[in-house]
């Protein structure tokens, strides 16, 4: 029996083509993952919305509730960063 290591059924694609697909799939997936990681590591540098202010919600207390008006949004009330 002639058996490709990765396909089955009559009319299956030749194993060479499958290897091409596998190679390209793996390559592009890894490249995509690497690019995404770079994006992740850079993304913190560009805080343009109130999103980073939302990171303080778990620390919200009445007595320390910051003034969160628009003009004050860029101020980080958390001192240890």
């Amino acid at each position: 029996m002639v058996l490709s290591d990765s396909t089955h059924g009559k009319g299956a694609i030749p194993s060479v083509s499958v290897m091409d697909v596998l190679y390209l799939t793996t390559l592009f997936s890894v490249l995509f993952a690497a690019l995404f990681l770079v994006l992740f590591l850079r993304v913190r540098q560009k805080a343009e919305s109130c999103a980073d202010q939302d990171s303080l919600i778990p620390f919200r207390r009445f007595e320390t509730l910051p003034d969160q008006s628009e003009s004050n949004r860029s101020q980080d009330d958390f001192p240890t960063l």
């Binding site: 058996l3 490709s4 997936s29 560009k46 919305s49 939302d54 778990p58 919200r60 009445f62 960063l81």
Partner: protein, 855 residues
């Protein structure tokens, strides 16, 4: 976020901390149970006698060895509800749904109230949720050892319990979403996004994978069969890991880690990218559990592709978690909570690197069906889930009972013994898996003959399996120390509910986003068109697919340009979205639904009748169907696969590779995911009935070194012939082509086939361990009549049917006919030149070929 305004006023609220406290206690209790069952089940892979026979060995030693004749000998060859096949589902269900489930609910109830500045919407719903969930767990703890199972991994619970799960989940969802509705914070914190994704996606997965038609109060057949069932199962199974064991724990990480480290999460922006990429990509990765199987190749590639992509968002989360500790690493020396969190997140990173690696088809060829996969799963559950749970419990206990943790030293000791346990456990299974995989694949110099018997590979990893048990015992010991620590803290303290002053602002600007502002915006529009053309690219035939690919790239480029040009507007849109829980939840639902739709719908609608690959499974006779239900009930699928992969070593060892059509009538499918014993896809006809019988009664009498337990009770328990008519009626409803038969014909046919098999067994003079209270057969006829009614005979009938199929001639294609470029279809059909076959069988019996010369 809540801006104090003229209309706001201060109020004091008391949080409901009783519910998360109860869930925490329940999680610890069930965690101990799950781990204890795990240790017993792991021991059985070393000593099959750990299924109860050990009691006989022990009492015999006391009675005869030490002369303590007053101690009665506990005479048993094993206890049927303690076999590996029944305990393993109990272990996995207890670990996932009881231990992690209760832990997750504890964290969600605690943090949601704080993040919403509101008490949980309804105390009554919280109580129903808590007690309902515990009842479900008790139901599982009784039904699974009793052999009442659906035969699908992590989805074993029987249909009445499934219904209870759905009802309790809806109650939980209602309570959660109503709490979001009455919140006093404008924005939804990132932890809440992960909780939303968990609730929505688990509901979707659970309902679809549990679609079934009951045959009795404790039994049902799933509506999907064969490859459809396999795909739906792993869409569910993989995403049970994703959305039950990962997303809620990530939400917990995003709340509790910053609290413990006393600093906000490293990057909130990163958490946005992390969340959306994770929930979108995760759902597609299920087919990586079915690589090299009869699953269509396009699905296998899709599963592998998305699994590799998944590495990125997973590590995004890990990085965000670890970097949150910037400037606080000194706490690692002194604070056990931080220790547990850091190691938990590190294990998350390791497991999510290993997962994509194992999804590469060539790696899967070695690792799948071996203990490497089990090791991988446990680095996730013990390392990620278990350590995150411990960190959270140690952080919560002082707050729940208003006093310091009883012993920080004990918590530190728990950390070190637990970590040693995990490393011992995971490393030994890595080695065991790789050794077994290499041995199973090893051929002689001609490449046509296998070198090792299956049982030799089991022998080889014996020591490693023992190390695994020791690692498990270490981990369990650590968790028991946690239980003691929390217990002492609770005893010395007093249960308290936190009170907090918050702003009550009736004019708080939240949940006011109109639907048009949600969907008719650039970010959604570009995402939609990119995905739309991407899917067309995949499904359209060559030519048209290239146009779709260009459109995808075009829209992606435009999205990139627009996002940079209108960064402020895009940001403002997302800020507004995170202040509106309902539109947010709808977008989450769409993001998680796409993957399932693209993968499952074509397989359900197209492949079933068409793509059977020239073979059609023979329908089981009533007795064989009864035997199959016994196979499922005993949990044989936990150790035996029924799927010969398209790999040379698999074919050499087990016979011709499995085709799609060969399991088309299997409800549920039984392809399996682990080979502690050999594959059974072509077991039928390989050996005689007497061999099968002797092997069931005592596997070691035929296969020295086998770890399979004895099944003497199969020759004592009776087959339920009376249930067959209703079972066959349901089989017909779900598309299995049984001829119309009266209940009497069904029962009579089954009994006649049973008598034939029993007659052959009696002719071979097999030993019959009759049930207690049953008279010993006095002659051949009474022995035959007795055996014919037992489960052993029905199971043998089923085993002898495995691998039976009818050949189906492929349709001849019209010469010169090319695919219509505008017609949709499954990608394989165009890209592999896949065949059309006539679903009507043309030839009669054709038993599969086997390779008797190979071990």
């Amino acid at each position: 976020m809540s801006n104090p305004s003229a209309s706001s006023r201060k109020i004091t609220i008391e949080f409901d901390d009783q519910t998360p406290r109860w869930f925490m206690i329940a999680s610890i209790f069930w965690g101990v149970v799950a781990m204890l069952v795990g240790v017993i089940a792991a021991s059985q892979l070393n000593f099959w006698q750990a299924n109860g026979h050990i009691f006989e060995m022990f009492t015999r030693f006391l009675n005869e060895g030490l002369g303590l004749s007053f101690i009665p000998i506990f005479d048993t060859d094993g206890i049927h509800f303690l076999t590996f096949g029944r305990l393993r589902p109990l272990h996995t269900n207890a670990a996932i749904f009881a231990f992690v489930g209760n832990m997750m609910f504890s964290g969600i109830y605690y943090s949601t109230q704080r993040l919403c500045s509101a008490r949980t919407y309804s105390d009554l719903l919280s109580k129903i949720h808590f007690w309902g969930w515990q009842l479900i767990i008790v139901g599982a703890a009784i039904s699974l050892p009793a052999g009442l199972t659906r035969g699908k991994e992590y989805a074993e619970l029987i249909w009445p319990i499934n219904l209870a799960v759905v009802i309790v989940w809806v109650i939980f969802a209602l309570n959660f979403f109503m709490t979001l509705k009455v919140r006093r914070e404008r924005s939804l914190y990132v932890a809440l996004w992960f909780y939303i994704a968990t609730i929505i996606t688990v509901a979707m997965l659970y309902i679809v994978n549990h679609l079934q038609i009951p045959t009795s109060w404790v039994h049902a057949y799933p509506i999907f069969g064969g490859v459809q069932d396999a795909l739906v199962q792993w869409w569910y199974g993989h995403n049970a890991v994703a959305f039950f064991l990962t997303t809620p724990i990530l939400g917990i990480m995003y709340y509790f880690l910053p609290k413990a480290a006393e600093r906000p999460v490293y990057s909130y922006k990163l958490s946005i990218v992390h969340f959306w990429s994770l929930v979108f990509i995760y759902i597609w990765a299920g087919p990586h559990h079915l690589l090299h199987t009869a699953l269509p190749t396009w699905l296998q590639l899709l599963g592998m592709f998305f699994s590799l992509m998944l590495w990125a968002p997973s590590w995004g989360g890990m990085i965000n978690g670890l970097l949150t500790l910037r400037g606080a690493w000194d706490k690692l020396r002194t604070d056990p909570v931080i220790k547990f969190f850091v190691v938990g997140i590190t294990f998350y990173g390791m497991a999510t690197f290993e997962g994509p690696l194992l999804s590469i088809r060539s790696v899967s060829a070695l690792a799948h069906y071996t203990d490497w996969i089990v090791g991988h799963v446990h680095s996730g559950t013990l390392g990620w889930n278990g350590f995150m749970a411990a960190g959270m419990f140690y952080w919560l206990a002082p707050r729940f009972w208003g006093r310091e943790l009883w012993s920080k030293s004990l918590a530190n000791f728990h950390f070190w013994i637990g970590l040693t346990g995990i490393l011992l456990y995971v490393a030994s299974l890595w080695f065991a898996g790789i050794i077994q995989g290499l041995m199973l694949n090893e051929t002689d110099e001609t490449g046509t003959r296998l070198v090792n018997e299956f049982v030799q590979t089991v022998d080889k990893i014996q020591m490693l399996m023992l190390l695994r048990v020791i690692g498990g015992v270490f981990y369990l010991t650590g968790f028991l120390l946690l239980a003691v620590n929390i217990w002492k803290t609770a005893r010395l303290g007093k249960a308290v509910n936190e009170t907090r002053e918050v702003y009550e602002d009736p004019e708080l600007e939240k949940d006011r986003m109109v639907w048009g502002a949600v969907f008719r915006k650039d970010p959604v529009a570009y995402t939609f068109w990119c995905l739309f053309f991407c899917i067309l690219w995949f499904f359209l035939p060559p030519g048209a697919s290239h146009v779709a690919m260009l459109c995808t790239l075009g829209f992606a480029a435009m999205a990139w340009i627009q996002a940079r040009r209108h960064a402020t507007e895009w940001s403002a849109w997302y800020d507004e979205l995170s202040e509106n829980y309902l539109p947010f939840s709808v977008l989450v639902l769409i993001a998680v639904a796409i993957g399932g739709l693209v993968q499952i719908v074509p397989v359900v609608t197209v492949n079933r009748a068409k793509n059977i690959e020239d073979r059609l499974q023979k329908v089981y006779t009533p007795l064989e169907l009864a035997g199959r239900d016994i196979y499922v009930s005993e949990g044989c699928y936990n150790c035996h696969s029924q799927m010969i992969r398209t790999l040379v070593p698999d074919v050499l060892r087990y016979g011709d590779y499995s085709r799609l059509g060969e399991s088309i009538y299997d409800h549920p499918y039984q392809w399996g995911s682990k080979r502690t014993g050999p594959d059974l896809a072509r077991e039928g006809g390989k050996r005689g009935d007497d061999w099968q019988y002797l092997h069931l009664m005592n596997p070691r009498s035929l296969s020295t070194g086998s770890r399979m337990p004895n099944y003497p009770w199969l020759a004592q328990h009776q087959t339920d012939f009376k249930a067959l008519p209703s079972k066959i009626a349901v089989q017909r409803m779900i598309g299995v082509p049984y001829p119309i038969m009266t209940p009497d014909e069904i029962e009579q046919g089954a009994r006649e086939q049973a008598l034939e098999i029993a007659g052959r067994l009696v002719g071979k003079q097999v030993k019959i361990p009759v049930a207690k209270g049953h008279a010993e057969p006095t002659d051949a006829n009474s022995a035959r009549d007795y055996l014919a009614g037992t489960q052993a005979v029905a199971l043998i009938a089923y085993l002898q049917k495995l691998g039976s199929f009818e050949e189906v001639a492929p349709k001849k294609k019209t010469p010169g006919q090319s695919p219509n470029p505008l017609r949709f279809g499954i990608p394989d059909e165009y890209r592999t030149g896949g065949m059309d076959v006539d679903p009507a069988p043309k030839s009669t019996a054709a038993q599969s070929g086997t390779t008797a010369s190979n071990p």
